[in-house]
Every structure is written in structure tokens, then in C-alpha cells.
Symmetry: C2
Subunit: 487 residues, 2 copies
């Protein structure tokens, strides 16, 4: 399958070229390699990608010290031992150690160990299975793939077209997760996950935080989640303003003024963070030249891009817009890597019309209605599958069952005055759970039980026999099932 020069960085031809060496690109490459292919990845920033350096890892690392301290403060007998404050410098230093000080040496080493080649530079598709890489020294190198090219370029923050905003050089999640000092005040524009998490973090680290949100905070989640997170942020001192910036101005003193239209006083802050969403990074990849609209990239469940002559292009992770979450991108990467390898080996049909079997190794079936997600706020929000609104809109016969997590013995022992909520969205015909939402301190590790129940399509009647250990917070499962039966 390989010629004598393939399999080394000096080669010109590989089985698979992966553009983008974030977690998703690494996994496409790894799984294809495990399937017997020779693979090269092309990366023009740090190997390891957004999640490792400017998203999940640093943001979780920034939050954990505050949440661990808060958890201890909430337990009589432990709280009196805490007399000091969070050490912000130590928190930032710990964060930086998790990003390896933004050095990708260990990730490069991992690629090497996995037998994957790396070419540094910016990749662009220039023809059938052909990628030009503009290298750091400006030279251009042409790579050729025998079987496939996979786009794993992720997403970029969307900066809304507000007067003066771009000129004010706002922070995006990158600057916010890699900051080396905490501004006295921070204005956050946006109301999604990134806005909510960074508001939580910056407030915990001592900043005055104002969130400017168009409508409802975390508006796509169940109301039990958005309402509780909003209240908790407000209780912690975060100001939440409903509105949209009409203009932004950064003064000579560096401070930022955000006008909100005529009815609302402007917001002033030392720094402004734009968290109004992200969009797939499809620009500059040469997609137009092969007949693909960069603003409308479509993939099937094997992550193969539709409408490409010869069907050799794949797109996994944020770049395809299916689910902008690291873990879901990695899931797609496993399906894509295995599908590419199986098609190269001839064990999976390559026909343009061939669709992989749902729930097989080659299909990212869970992307559609089985996606898990955690919002690391205080309280945490952990959710999988369909919300009650989405399930109803999709036409399922839905029953919603709510339970007060704070009334569970395990929660009461976990924290004094524990407050939390759980919602299950049930398909009353198939008797399975379509979606589940947990809100409360330390619920993030409770999510996977729901993910297995939802993905495994385990019936309520069988879940009845899955006994939660006492006294854990998971006893809420029993209460949800009892409520479904008797209430």
C-alpha cells in the first residue's frame, strides 16, 4: 500500500492527509493509522489544538480550584478550616502547567510515537487528494493522498458586526483562557456556554463581571439549567444585562465602553470578551475550487463531505458544524478514521450512495440526538440527548419528569443546603429516555450514566433494576423512575 518514501515527513504521498492537528485531527490520524494507513497531519499552530491550549483544559483548570474550595466551604466541620482566599497567581500557574505553557512538544512526541507524520504549515486543497502546505519559512510543499483528505480545522469565534468592536481588540475565549492577570472588571458579550463558564471563572478569580446577553442565558438548555445558573451568577455578584451592544469604544486609558442602545446605560469595563458563538473554520482551504461551498459543508455519518468528485474528502469536528464539542469531534474522528481505513481496505463500500450502518464503527450516529455536554459553571449543568423542547419539536411522544436533587440524601450529605435539579425527557411509547439534564454541584460525573441509558436505549423497566448505591446523589435515578410510575 505504501511506496518507499511514504511514511516519513520527507515523503510526498501518504494514504491520508489530515489538515489540523487538534484533538480531532489527531484522532482521525490515529484511528486511520491503527487501520493500517500511512498518515500525515498538517498544522500551522500548536499540535493539540484549541481544546488543549485555549478551551476545555485551561478553562476547567481555572475553575477547579474555586469549585474545590467552595465545595469544602459548604460542609460544616470543614468550612472553618478555610480562612484564606484563592491564590490567583497559583491558579493561573496551575492552568499554565495544564497547557504545557503553550508548548506542543509532548503532543508532537505523541504523534511520533503513534507513527503519524507531521508537516507544519497552512494546508490548502489544490486538487483531487492534493494539498499545498505553506510552510513557516514561506515555501510551499505539495502533499498527495492515495485515499483521502480529512479537514479537522475546527472553528473560530464569531465577532458580531458591532460598530467599534473589532477595533477595540476584544478578548475571545483564547485570550480569556490564557490570561496572565485578571482584569478588575470584565464585560462579556454573549450568553452561551463560553460566556457562562468564563463569567463563573472570572468572578471566582476576583473580577467584577457584567454579562450582556441578548435574551436568556444558556437559552438552548432546559429552563431548570438556565435559571439556576443565572441566579447563581447573580448571587455571586455577576451583573447580567439583557441587550445587544450598539457600539464599542476603547478609550486611551484602555477601558472599554459598550453602548446598549437608548434605553440602557452603557457598560464600562477594563476588558471585553466576545463570546457570541463560533463558526466552522472553512476559509482559505480551497473548498470552492473543488465545488464545495465553505459556508455549507455537508457530511454524511461517516463524516464524508458530499458533492466532491471521487468522494475523497472528509470533515470531522467543529469544522462540519454538527456539534461544537471536543468529545463529540473526537467521536466523529474515530468514525472517520475507521471509515477511511475500511474504505481503503475495501471492507466498507466507497460508493457515493453508500451510507454506513447506524451505530456501527463507521457512523457518528450519536451526533444527531445523543450528544452529551457539560457546562462547567457553578452549579454545573450536565446534559445529554434531547431537551424537552427539542424532543417535542421532533415529534416524539414526550413526558417530562423532574426531581429535586437537593432532596436526595446523598446530596444533602455532600453539601449543606445542596441545591440541584434533574429532568428526564421520556419517550412514552418506546419507554426510553430521550434526554436528561442534571444541574447542581458536582453533577458532571453523573452524566455518563444518562449517556449510556440514552445511547443504549435501555428501557425504563430495565433501568428499574439498575440500583443506585446509597447514599450517593445518583439515588435521584430511583426517584425519577418512581415519579414516572406513580406521580
Amino acid at each position: 500500500m505504501t511506496d518507499s518514501t511514504a511514511g516519513s515527513p520527507e515523503a510526498a504521498e501518504w494514504d491520508l492527509i489530515v489538515i489540523g492537528a487538534g484533538a480531532v485531527g489527531e484522532n482521525v490520524a490515529d484511528y486511520a493509522t491503527k487501520g493500517g494507513l500511512k498518515v500525515v497531519v498538517v498544522e500551522d499552530e500548536l499540535v493539540g489544538g484549541e481544546c488543549s491550549y485555549w478551551a476545555c483544559m485551561p478553562s476547567k483548570a481555572l475553575l477547579r480550584p474555586a469549585s474545590a474550595l467552595l465545595a469544602a466551604k459548604r460542609v460544616a466541620g470543614a468550612s472553618s478550616a478555610i480562612t484564606g482566599e484563592l491564590d490567583v497567581a497559583a491558579v493561573l500557574e496551575r492552568r499554565s502547567s495544564f497547557t504545557s505553557e503553550w508548548n506542543d512538544a509532548s503532543q508532537v512526541e505523541w504523534l511520533d510515537g503513534a507513527g503519524i507524520d507531521l508537516v507544519r504549515g497552512r494546508g490548502r486543497i489544490v486538487g483531487d487528494r492534493r494539498v499545498d502546505v505553506t510552510q513557516p519559512d514561506g515555501t510551499v510543499r505539495t502533499l498527495t493522498a492515495r485515499h483521502a483528505v480529512a479537514l479537522c480545522t475546527g472553528s473560530v469565534p464569531t465577532i458580531p458586526p458591532v460598530e467599534g468592536l473589532a477595533e477595540a481588540k476584544p478578548w475571545t475565549s483564547r485570550e480569556a483562557t490564557s490570561a496572565t492577570e485578571i482584569p478588575s472588571s470584565l464585560a462579556i458579550v454573549g450568553g452561551g456556554v463560553v460566556a457562562a463558564e468564563l463569567a463563573t471563572i472570572y468572578r471566582a478569580l476576583g473580577a467584577e463581571v457584567t454579562v450582556i446577553v441578548r435574551s436568556r442565558l444558556l437559552g438552548t438548555l432546559e429552563d431548570i439549567a438556565s435559571e439556576r445558573v443565572q441566579k447563581s451568577l447573580e448571587d455571586s455578584g455577576v451583573r447580567i444585562v439583557t441587550g445587544s451592544p450598539s457600539s464599542v469604544h476603547r478609550g486611551e486609558d484602555g477601558r472599554v465602553t459598550i453602548a446598549l442602545g437608548e434605553d440602557e446605560a452603557p457598560v464600562e469595563a477594563d476588558e471585553i470578551l466576545v463570546a457570541t458563538g463560533r463558526h466552522p473554520a472553512t476559509e482559505g482551504l480551497g473548498l470552492e475550487d473543488i465545488g464545495v461551498n465553505p459556508k455549507d459543508l455537508r457530511v454524511d455519518d461517516s463524516l464524508r463531505v458530499a458533492g466532491v468528485h471521487g468522494d475523497w474528502l472528509y470533515a470531522a469536528g467543529d469544522v462540519n458544524g454538527r456539534a461544537l464539542l471536543t468529545h463529540q469531534g473526537k467521536y466523529q474522528a474515530r468514525a472517520a478514521g475507521l471509515a477511511i481505513a475500511a474504505r481503503a481496505a475495501g471492507t466498507l463500500s466507497s460508493a457515493p450512495s453508500a451510507r454506513p450502518e447506524p451505530w456501527s464503527d463507521y457512523a457518528a450516529t450519536a451526533d444527531h440526538e445523543h450528544v452529551p455536554s457539560v457546562v462547567f459553571t457553578e452549579p454545573e449543568v450536565a446534559t445529554v440527548g434531547l431537551t424537552s423542547v427539542a424532543a417535542t419539536e421532533a415529534g416524539y411522544p414526550v413526558r417530562v419528569v423532574d426531581y429535586d436533587l437537593g432532596s436526595i440524601a446523598g446530596a444533602a450529605v455532600h453539601a449543606d443546603g445542596y441545591s440541584g435539579a434533574v429532568r428526564a425527557v421520556i419517550d412514552t411509547e418506546r419507554r426510553i429516555i430521550l434526554g436528561m439534564t442534571f444541574v447542581g454541584q458536582d453533577v458532571s460525573e453523573m452524566l455518563h450514566a444518562a449517556t449510556i441509558a440514552v445511547v443504549g436505549e435501555v428501557t425504563l423497566e430495565r433501568l428499574w433494576h439498575a440500583v443506585p448505591a446509597y447514599p450517593t446523589m445518583n439515588e435521584v435515578w430511583l426517584r425519577i423512575l418512581e415519579t414516572e410510575r406513580y406521580a
Copy 2:
């Protein structure tokens, strides 16, 4: 179904008599009541039982402040805020609030609200569906059941026949969980869950602790669990001595000396706790009179006792010896309560040979090979289903897959230097998980995912699509599945 006097404590006849008003008895009564029966429970101690007052709740409440504080100490940025020590008096006070100061008023209120009658006193079976209750004032009252009697009397600690031990008036778990002060030194005889948990608690609360264990600590669990808990206890200053007491003596100063035979120096301590196991509380219930051997009580999966003429006797919870765990007893209680009500209604066969359908509402099927359990030590141990040894002995085609929990990004963020382990026991033919063990800080809430996977018999191929959210510790599921495929 009921006569005019039934349904009040003054009645003489009910549909069901439940002996024992612990969590198990309460649930048998509740589920039978939901099924339309009139029920009375008989209790000679506190309504709520062992778990509420002298086991799960107080022990978890005693441990939580220490574990919350330890968790915060393990995170740089948070640790420096902790300058004080655990406030032992506050810990004991918090524990006492969880046991309602050993007052059962709220539990009695719950019974009342659920429409269940209560008769206080010691119950004894005196004939077919007939129970004599010796009341607190010494009078005896006879209760009659139209359909069934359920024994839910739990278990009692086993005191081994060691010379001087009984005379030394040792602590059992009751005294240890309800103590109002912490002895300077505590010797614990036994190496099971109670011994390990109470060693963890008393060490955390400042006592010098010595554990005297016959062979291996937590010997029935996977070695990854027992070894890690033993090492952690030793690192915290607990002394673990292998041996068996040959005699015990409490001196006039109140101190206890435990001789361990000729080769080992005796252990001295201010207090001694016997935690060498428990046995079903079947004495004094009149079982012999109806032809049942109290030392060999056998039940089917509807919890109906074998060999009773008329098949009207049930036994749920510790008393039947199937699984000495509160949550599993409550699970049995649900099956028993529903089965009793269904048989009374004629919707479930009462024939002696009739066995309820496995995994139906009327069968405690999970008791056999699907039992979850958490050991609240430091690290925690959470386990469900069969261990590798038990699965192999049962003849399953077994593969064991281990993964280092500390290497998961979510664990590293959770605590600096996180140390933990996960083991999955896989049926290589059916491609399902037979058992799973988690060891590490805060793994208790990770267990239910495994319980659902094991009970739901979800295949590894479908679990592949149950994506763990990043960065949570549950990412270990992905690593376990990858290891199973590729290692």
C-alpha cells in the same frame, strides 16, 4: 378487600404485616400500599432503621467534611486558603443532625403520610399469617394478615468467640457511628467494608487507629481496590496488623489490650471496634414454629420464603442474606411489595412453584450478579457486578481490562497528582460488561454509569457511541473501550 377496622392502628387485621421499619420494611410497606393493600409495620426500635441512624447516613456524614477538605487541599491555588484543621465537634454535630438526633418523628410522619400503620413492639410469628407483638408496656397484641407477612429485620453484628471480647463491651458499628467523642486510639478488628470505612473516618477525626485483619483488607474486592485502600490508610498513619485476636482484656483504666498470639505484640487502644461481619436477624421471630430454619432462610426472586405452608411469608433486605446493602434491600423491597400486592390482586401467580419473570417488577434479579456497592474510604471504591475472580469462577469467558484513572485529563484537573484505577470485567462472547470497579477520589458518582451498562447488558459496540464529556473523569470509559480493542 378491607374491613371497617382495618387501616387503623387499632385494627387487628391487615392485608400485609411488615416486621421491621427500617428502609427495607418501609419500602415493602410503601409499594404494597401503592398496590392497594392495607399495611401495618411493627418496629421495636427507631422507625428508619440501621441505615438512617447507625450505618450509611452517619458514617457518610462523618466522612464528608474530611473528604471535602482533602479534595481542596489537593488543588494548587485552593490549598493555601486552608490553614485550619477539621472542626471535630462540628463534624459530630453535623452527623447528629443527619440522624435527627436519633429521633424518628419525621419517619413516623412519613409512614403516616403514606397511609401505613405502625405498631411499636417486638414482633413474633405465632401461626399462619399471625404475628404477636410484645409492646413497650409488656402487653402482647395479636395482628393478623389476610395475605402476607414480610420480615425486614435486617442484620446484627457478629461478635467472634474470642476470650474476653464480649466482656470488654466492644464497640460495634452502632457505637462507632453514634460516638459523641473521638477516642485517642481505636483498635478495629476486621477487614471488611465497615472496618475500612471506620478506620478512614476515625483516622481523619484524629484517632490513632490500628486495624487487625485476618488476611487481606477488603479481600472480596478486586486487588486494585484493596491494595490502594490499604496503602492509603497506611500513608495516613493507620497501622494494619495481620492476625486474629486470641484474647481481649479491658483494664480498670478502660483501655483495651488485644493479644494476637505468641508471634505478634499485643495491640493496646482506648477503644475496640468489632467489625467482623454481620448476620441475618432471624432469632426470636418464631421461624422454627412454622418449619423454617432461622439459620437457613431461603427466598426466591420475589423474596418469598421457601417451605412455608400457604406461601405467605416474605423476607427482604439483610435478613435474607442475599446482599447486605441498604440500596439492594430497598430494591428487594420494591419487588416484594409489588409481588405481594399483585398476588393479592390475583395478577401474579401465587402457586408455590411460580417464579416471577426475570427482570420483571416482581423479581430482584439484579441481586445475583448485578449488585452495586460503594466503599466510602479514601480513595473511594465503587463496584458493580462480578469481580474478575467471581466471573471466572462462574464460568464466563472473561477478559479483564484495566486503565489508570490518574492518566485521564479530567482526573488530573480534579486533583493534583490524582491516583486511581478502573477495571472492567468483560464477557468476550456476549460483548458486555459483567463487572466494573472504580478506585479513586470522588468515583462514587461514576458508578451508576457502570451499573446501567451492566444491568442494561449494553454491548461494547453500542457503548462505543456513549461519548464521555470532556474533560470529565468518565473519559476513562473511552480508554477502557479502546484498550479492549487495541491492546
